[in-house]
Amino acid sequence: MIDVRLLTQPFNPGQFVGPFTHAHPGLGGVCTFVGEVRGEDGVEALELSHYAPLTLPGMEALAARAASRFDLMGMMILHRTGVMLPGEPIVCVSAAASHRRAAFEAVDFAMDHLKSDSWFWKREKRGGVWTWIEPRGQDHSDLARWD
């Protein structure tokens, strides 16, 4: 099962991961990563904007690519847009597979691609001032691991 969603409101990852897991009974294992807005360095809020015609189709293509590359039974990608506060989930990626390593690698693969090969733009608010976050060199070297 491929389940990809853009969410505009705060969400509880467990409410999605439970049904996703139950959709694949006897599966072996599920690896899940949940990324949250960090509270460090005085960050007051984070905003993610996207470009609707490209963002969701891009995530769907990414999930399909990961599912076939890692021989998954299912993949779920949930991604927030809009303004988020520290502690709120930004992204939740789950992979269900017969084999543990495949599930890990698929989630790692999807996260690296969401970071620097998907259509999201991020800015942070500190001391009342919004600043755009530029992609980091680290993100691109993470991505190159999968070539």
Binding site: S49, Y51, P53, L54, K115, S116, D117, W119, F120, I133
Partner: protein
Amino acid sequence: MFLGRLADVAGTPEREVAAGPLAEVLADLPASLAIALLDERVRVALNGELVRAVETIVLEQGDELAFLPPVSGG
């Protein structure tokens, strides 16, 4: 449409422009914005589809052009 930090440079997320070749459209914009849009890392989408040969774009009535700076998601 201007995505990410380009919306700040433009001072707005969207702007109406006259139809015509892209070079003419850019020539009508403030110089600092035109320079930011021509950054080689900025991708361009016409009506929701990425365009490789940006210099060939000719806008018609109702077309939507989007300027997409480098992303920073996850």
